[in-house]
Symmetry: C2
Subunit: 123 residues, 2 copies
Amino acid sequence: MSTSSRCAACRHLRRRCPSDCIFAPYFPANDPHRFACVHKIYGSSKVGNMLQDLPVELRAEAADAICIEAECRVQDPVYGCVRMISLLQQQIHNAESQLVKARAEIAVLGSHAQELRHHGQDI
Amino acid sequence: MSTSSRCAACRHLRRRCPSDCIFAPYFPANDPHRFACVHKIYGSSKVGNMLQDLPVELRAEAADAICIEAECRVQDPVYGCVRMISLLQQQIHNAESQLVKARAEIAVLGSHAQELRHHGQDI
């Protein structure tokens, strides 16, 4: 493979991109930031091994997930994507609290409507 | 530091645990699995650097988050903790859909109650 068609990983690692490069399908040359993040957080050898250990058909999704995690950790070196998990858990807690309140309101309105209906019948 | 008081990281790496060990405060000897996971996913040198680059007071929380991410990836080598993010996003979507329905129901019940009240006044 010529130098100009090296993948982002091989460019970053300043090496020849072999025809069976484990990174090439998931780290295209036009997105150097993607590989730079995973390299900084996991190192190329760990990422290569993680992909290699998976069946080919699962590698693209694994590479995407690994990139998300690495980008989160580059942006937030303390919490990484665990911060997103905490924020989402908080958001679920809020939505569920509102749902409990809304259901209580429905129960009150429902019984109120029933009372009014009985009252109407009494008149 | 004697061999018996080595931290989980130094035991795993079969090395002497120095008195200023970067791992010791966050990887106690009684939880070897915790270090084994981060070692498998990030490697000890990356984890050491990630902790070293942070102010001391943030390292414990960073070590916990790094462990969560590593344990998720060991359990789920394709999606890691990104699967949890997807599940939580789905859960929020469901809770919010139910909330929209509940609010619509409240609006219907409210206007229905008002009609019944007017109807009662008419009689």
